[in-house]
């Protein structure tokens, strides 16, 4: 399994992790300051095409970080699944962005740069930062008036390669080339509009550009790891869990988890639609195997106390699903032991079982017939745990989530 990002909380404890964040913040503030971002006039000049520092620093940082992230991910060092990718709420983002653009040109800063400016005693930075606090306060007081809009146009973890239906490596390389074009344009603007002497620009900028292109090409050629690649890298240890039956939970343990207020049971039923319609557990998510990987991002958004339980009629397909999810670093995934058939055998009443059991059983096929497709309205789909006192060996051990549960500006 890719070793990064690090499980900071379990490695260093909560305060240790906070120290790491503080050091990163320190480096962030330091670099912003030496770039000149504490000075409003330098930032505002961007909008009159006179001095393109903002574009160069920001776009440079974005493509620099991007090529490194996707190279390390291609090499299997970094797990892209565990990285916080801002979920897309399209229209609130665009409207908020426009308002911020107005604020940027009127006030001369963005929130991060105003902090650095304030730290270096620039009065306009201090007043701007106070304005930011006031704006945040106003938002907290008014968002209730239009909460529907604020939660609208949600697209989840949605990335550019998915938008353009293109290979990640190609998108990364294209963005690097677009950035280089933008830098070229920026230098022209500085020369002809800003009347700056651009001949003194350092030569190492060509080397930096070359390195960025080379890293992007390397990432493209190696390619991002597929689900099968990721599984191969963890197969020995994870397969052992399957054979030791450490991750197959008894139906009673699932039922207990479903009624445990401290845990969230996220049940994933991977069977085909007709079986699902015949009978499924209450609140189960119907996600067949071929759509499983599309739902991984949503699973990573679930709270840390979520237990994922995959199920098929017996265990074959569920085991396949378990492998796929483990390869994508989904934490706390378990298999319903014996599948839906075992669940029905445990919780359906004796007459139903006697009347409806299929004579011939084929592996991973529904072992019972249903006169009416009741789905989750079947009494066995939502049994009362108190009516079925069953002894079982508990298997669920909640592991700490490695990736961030919130990010951006959490």
């Amino acid at each position: 399994m890719a070793p990064f990002p690090l499980p900071l909380q379990s490695l260093l404890g909560q305060w240790g992790a906070y120290v790491v964040y503080m050091i990163i913040g320190f480096a962030f503030g330091y670099v912003l300051e030496i770039a000149g971002f504490g000075k409003s006039t330098k930032l505002a000049a961007q909008f009159y095409f006179k001095e393109m520092t903002v574009l160069k620093v920001m776009f440079g940082a974005i493509i620099g970080a991007m090529v490194l992230i996707f190279l390390t991910s291609a090499l299997g060092l970094l797990d892209y699944n565990l990285i916080w990718v801002n979920p897309t709420y399209l229209w609130p983002g665009i409207l908020g962005g426009l308002i911020m653009g107005f604020g940027f040109i009127l006030g001369g800063f963005c929130p991060g740069t105003s902090l650095v400016s304030a730290a270096t005693l620039k009065l306009d930075g201090i007043v701007f930062a106070l304005g930011v606090f006031f704006g945040i306060f106003l938002f907290g007081e008014t968002v209730g008036l239009y909460e529907d809009f604020w939660y609208s146009s949600y697209m989840g973890r949605f990335t550019l390669p998915e938008l353009f239906n293109a290979d990640t490596g190609v998108v990364v390389l294209a963005l690097v080339l677009i950035a280089l074009l933008a830098f070229f344009g920026a230098e022209l603007a500085e020369k002809y509009i800003g009347k700056m002497d651009t001949s003194k620009e350092p030569r190492y900028r060509f080397a930096l550009a070359g390195v960025a292109v080379l890293i992007a090409i390397a990432g493209l050629l190696i390619g991002q790891p597929t689900n099968a690649d990721k599984w191969a890298s963890i197969a020995p240890q994870e397969d052992a869990k399957l054979t030791e039956r450490a991750v197959q939970i008894h139906p009673a343990e699932l039922l207990q988890t479903m009624s445990d207020r401290r845990l969230v049971a996220y049940m994933i039923d991977v069977r085909d639609e007709s079986d699902f319609n015949e009978f499924h557990l209450i609140d189960a998510h119907h996600i067949p195997l071929d759509r499983l990987l599309d739902n991984v991002a949503e699973m990573h958004f679930q709270p840390a106390n979520t237990v994922f339980v995959v199920m098929s009629n017996d265990e074959t397909q569920a085991t396949e699903a378990w492998r796929m999810l483990r390869a994508e670093s989904v934490p706390n995934v378990y298999i319903l032991e014996g599948g839906i058939n075992n669940w029905i055998a445990t919780y359906a009443d004796a007459t139903f079982k006697a009347d409806n059991q299929r004579a011939v059983h084929v592996d991973d096929q529904l072992g019972y017939t249903f006169a009416v497709a009741l789905g989750s309205r079947d009494p066995a789909a939502n049994p009362n745990p108190d009516m079925f006192p069953i002894e079982f060996t508990p298997r669920i051990q909640l592991e700490l989530k490695r990736g961030p549960t919130s990010g951006g500006c959490g």
Binding site: I83, F109, K122, G135, I136
Partner: protein
């Protein structure tokens, strides 16, 4: 505004003891961009999170709101997530990152002789006007940053580097908004 006086005698001992150090020029933007890219990469590589600023300011504000009016916090949906019940809004990675950011800016400003009480503005407006617009701009920034669920750092920079569609749309909107209004407020800066 400020001119870089590079001809001043560079007596390091004197500079160290004097209240104000010699102001050094800013670094080349490409160099700063590459450096910031490495910082941003390391943030993702080590922690899984990118950079953020307005989130920390948000939580700091909510902390003080909770001191002044705890009942109010528990009634506003948006605030409950951060400070409802016995939750401490400061108990979050972004708060510590923000503290680090302020410290980093301060240390760099101090080391490079840029720690100076001043107002940066265009040549044609008064300090008073500049500060009024700074406050108004800050208010819009703060409001917009929460509406967009992140500021230039948390959305544009961080989300941009990991290819979030929303972050790229947001980034275009920020610069679109800035350029849209820039011509009409040119007196502020030119």
């Amino acid at each position: 505004m400020t001119t870089f006086n590079r001809t001043m005698p560079q007596n390091r001992a004197e500079a160290g003891t004097a209240a104000r150090r010699i102001e050094k020029p800013y670094v080349n933007p490409y160099f700063a961009g590459a450096l910031l890219g490495v910082v941003l990469f390391l943030a993702f590589f080590i922690t899984g999170n990118g950079l953020g600023a307005s989130g920390g300011m948000n939580r700091l504000l909510v902390y003080f709101e909770d001191l002044v009016a705890p009942g109010h916090i528990d009634r506003v949906h948006y605030l409950i997530d951060m400070a409802g019940g016995d939750k401490n809004p400061l108990d979050s990675w972004v708060v510590f990152m923000t503290i680090g950011t302020v410290a980093g800016g301060f240390v760099s400003g101090w080391r490079n002789g840029r720690l100076k009480l001043e107002v940066n503005k265009g040549p044609r407006i008064s300090n008073r006007t500049r500060l009024i617009f700074a406050f108004a701009g800050g208010t819009l920034m703060g409001y917009g940053a929460r509406l967009a669920r992140g500021c230039t750092s948390g959305q544009a920079l961080s989300g941009g580097a990991v290819l979030s569609v929303g972050s790229w749309a947001f980034m275009l909107a920020v610069f679109g908004g800035g350029y849209l209004l820039a011509y009409f407020v040119r007196r502020l800066w030119n």
